[in-house]
């Protein structure tokens, strides 16, 4: 059966896993998951319980918009967290040392970043897409500029910490070469870019870092991974069943509060 990766490239953690596997020539079966169709209709999706959300939703059961991706399936073994998946792949396929350095202090710095990222950028960056694109799509209401301003303010604080505490004057987050930390960071920071909030603008150090990361990954793979999210405006032409809109709208409106 081989390695299966259940991914929706709309989601930043999925892009990190995708890029890592591609860059390291890890053979895998790409199992496409379309978050909106599947979480709402409960049609497709890996047969596992996501730590980040409810159990597999079937048609008519509880509607969840929480993430059920990425998921890894390696024969009978399944894993549903992007950090765990990245670490597992790096170990199993013995990827080049710089991704997760064997030097224990450098490795600790990667762990530290990955942990901090989850409580900060991982929480804030996707909200830009929700507020500017998805919620208006489902509710038919114009986006909330107040809420967007608040999130951008929170992001500004995180980005300052990112530059001053983590990146500082290094080429990459942990020293001279790209690591899992840079990968996880860059894919997340593309989310606001896709929503039309270019957080790189006015931040030259961050912009330079992004360039280096893209180059280290390989521009082609990077673009391939981001094609979907960068064409997000096409979502507005998606036909969403009005009954589903009705069901989902209250949850989304609550998110805005």
């Amino acid at each position: 059966m081989g390695l299966e990766l259940y991914l929706d490239l709309f989601s930043p953690p999925c892009r990190a896993v995708y890029i890592f596997a591609k860059k390291n020539n890890i053979p895998f079966d790409f199992k496409a998951v379309e978050l909106f169709k599947d979480s709402i209709l409960g049609t497709k999706g890996p047969d596992t319980k996501s730590p980040e959300g409810a159990t597999q939703a079937g048609p008519g059961t509880k509607i969840t918009l929480t993430k059920k991706v990425p998921v890894l399936k390696d024969e009978a073994f399944s894993l549903a967290d992007s950090t765990a998946i990245l670490l597992y792949l790096s170990r199993k396929y013995k990827t080049p040392d710089h991704w997760y350095p064997s030097d224990i202090q450098k490795r600790a710095k990667v762990d530290e970043y990955l942990s901090w990222h989850q409580g900060n950028i991982r929480v804030q960056a996707p909200q830009t897409v929700w507020i500017k694109v998805l919620i208006p799509l489902f509710t038919g209401q114009p986006f909330s500029s107040d809420k967007l301003q608040r999130v951008m303010g929170e992001m500004a604080v995180s980005l300052r910490q990112f530059e001053e505490q983590f990146l500082q004057d290094q080429p990459f987050l942990v020293g001279r070469e790209i690591s899992l930390a840079d990968l996880v960071a860059v894919v997340e920071l593309m989310q606001p870019v896709a929503a039309g909030c270019d957080i790189f603008e006015g931040r030259p150090r961050l912009t330079q870092w992004r360039k280096r990361v893209e180059e280290a990954i390989g521009k082609e793979v990077f673009l391939q991974a981001h094609e979907l999210i960068l064409n997000i405006h096409k979502l507005s032409t998606i036909q969403i069943d009005p009954r589903l809109k009705e069901q989902v709208a209250p949850t989304l409106l609550k998110m805005l509060q």
Partner: protein
């Protein structure tokens, strides 16, 4: 220079680091950072951890924050027994999975519960209204379901038949509401049994020692606030726990 661990044992992740170091005989200097006195906000502490949070580690010139990172670093540096952070790829992945999920899920939930059960009643002069806590209780139940059905299943511990970093972080986290007299495992015998196993694996004496700070009576100094400040704080807390 000896390893320094900057801790406030009121904080869940600090207890995990403390217990891990003690249980493995790792020599360290305990540097107390009293959160209730705002010691984490000082400039001096900022030199150790610019994020101004606990726990933090200082090993010579090397500083490190984030309990997930600290625990793994200690396990590697001091070559602790394999079961804490297994070399078996799949077992290790189970630990990674839990470590990743817990600090933005269970941590927040248990901290909110502590606030709801210990702090709000102090400010309100009565228990917090149950309708306000409805969403929080729902969140708690979802988390407990996941802990039982996904992370533990029919295993004795998260990664298998032995305790690991995952169980340690989990157990200290779910102790937090107990500090407010609220046992989240009431009515969940499987989880209560797991908790006993973890306590035993760690050592009951060490476990109790680590939790003394949580159960100590704390002076929150709410009576020193003006009525307006108190009202503002109450409103903030009510919002936080929802």
């Amino acid at each position: 220079m000896a390893l320094e661990l900057y801790l406030d044992l009121f904080s869940q992740p600090c207890r995990a680091v403390y217990i891990f170091a003690k249980a493995n005989g790792i020599p360290f200097v305990f540097k107390e950072v009293a959160l209730i006195q705002g010691q984490h906000k000082t400039e001096e502490y900022g030199k150790v951890n610019p994020m101004k949070k606990v726990p933090a580690l200082k090993d010579g010139d090397f500083t490190l924050s984030e309990s997930n990172a600290i625990l793994r670093y200690l396990a590697r540096k001091f070559k602790t027994p394999d079961h804490w952070y297994p070399s078996d790829l799949q077992k290790c992945a189970r630990v990674d999975e839990y470590l990743s999920w817990q600090h933005t899920n269970t941590r927040k939930c248990n901290s909110k519960l502590y606030t709801a059960k210990a702090l709000l009643p102090l400010l309100l002069g009565q228990p917090a209204p149950p309708e306000r806590l409805e969403q929080l209780m729902k969140e708690l139940n979802e988390i407990l379901d996941l802990l039982e059905d996904k992370f533990l299943q029919d295993r004795a511990f998260v990664a298998g038949s032995d305790i690991s970093l995952a169980d340690l972080l989990a157990v200290v986290d779910f102790m937090q509401p107990l500090g407010a007299g609220y046992d989240v495992f009431e009515g969940r015998p499987k989880l209560a049994a797991w908790r006993s196993r973890v306590q035993q694996a760690v050592g009951k004496e060490l476990f109790e020692e680590a939790h003394r700070e949580l159960f100590r009576e704390r002076d929150w100094k709410f009576d020193r606030l003006s009525p307006e400040e108190k009202e503002q704080l109450t409103q903030n807390m009510l919002k936080y726990v929802q």
